[in-house]
Amino acid sequence: MHVPDGFFDSPTCMAAAGVSLVGVGYAVREVRRGEHVEGLGLLTAFIFAAQMVNFPIGAGTSGHLMGGALAAIVLGPAAAVVCMSVVLVVQAVVFADGGIFALGINISLMAIIAPLVGWAVYRSLRAAFGERRHADVWWCGGAAAMAGCASVVVAAGVFSALFWLGGTADIALGEVAAAMISTHLLIGLGEALITGVVVVAVLHTRAQQAGCEQVGREQAASEQTSGKSVSL
């Protein structure tokens, strides 16, 4: 969904640039002030790499992982905004993938809206159904998959609304929205699959690490952390 230059008029690009500056600035501050986030750079590189791998969705169209929901679930929403923004800036500046003037729009859609939607859906699903099965990694993977799909579809919907507001072509909102959302529902299935698989893999690894870390700890300390760690 990398928006090239020329799709949006200048005011819309400027407004989106403002929104993304504020959002990314806030996220960077949060990440810097918070706990050290292990694996942030690695996840950024993974999302960049995964975005290179377009998968066919039929009808001569392809899609690729967006990754916002994945990043938010694995590292939290603030770190996800940072990851996604770095990917988008590198893609636009180094690889001419996505416009430079449209960078604010791309960041707003894919680095801010997508991670926040994915994170909200994941947390809501976990809160609604997750309590009883909180130790089930596969259940988390399923929730992550739905969050991934939702993040892509919502971003496509917001693109359509933005295009209606500030697009350079005069096309009815309904037509663009119907085409964008139906196409991105299919892409969302791929997003769901990849997000689910990666989240399950990450949770398995973390559970193993947590198991190792806890060996030899005092009982009290161990109980204190294990209650939380297992809640992965």
Partner: protein
């Protein structure tokens, strides 16, 4: 683990990406079908030597794409490190401890551990 994951990332960027579908992506295809694809203009960086994930020059296309993928991964990693550099420089709490805390953080959503309970651990 970190190194294995890193190797996997580089493998995806350099080789798996060679099998990417060449079809237009979701937005491009919608722009085509809705008739606004012509509105797109070239990015100011489209003349750059890595533009469109291919090296300009006489190299085999697949080698150019592989190099582009590897360069992109490294740049992403370095830029992320630079942007979040302060997080790495926080003196207290070893990385080992923070890894455990991140576990609980992602399990219990974003309950980011405060300095107090980090020390209590």
């Amino acid at each position: 683990m970190k190194w294995r994951a890193g190797a996997l990332v580089l493998l995806i960027a350099a080789f798996v990406s060679q099998y990417a579908s060449p079809h237009p992506d979701g937005l491009e295809s919608v722009a085509d079908s809705q008739g606004f694809a012509d509105a797109a203009v070239d990015s100011p960086t489209s003349g750059w030597w890595l533009a469109d994930y291919s090296l300009q020059g006489g190299l085999e296309p697949w080698i150019g794409a592989a190099i582009a993928g590897l360069v992109g991964c490294v740049v992403c990693l370095v830029v992320t490190r630079l942007v979040t550099v302060n997080a790495d420089l926080i003196p207290d709490g070893s990385k080992r401890k923070s890894a455990v805390h991140k576990l609980s953080a992602s399990g219990g959503a974003t309950t980011r551990p405060t300095r107090n309970n980090r020390k209590a651990d």
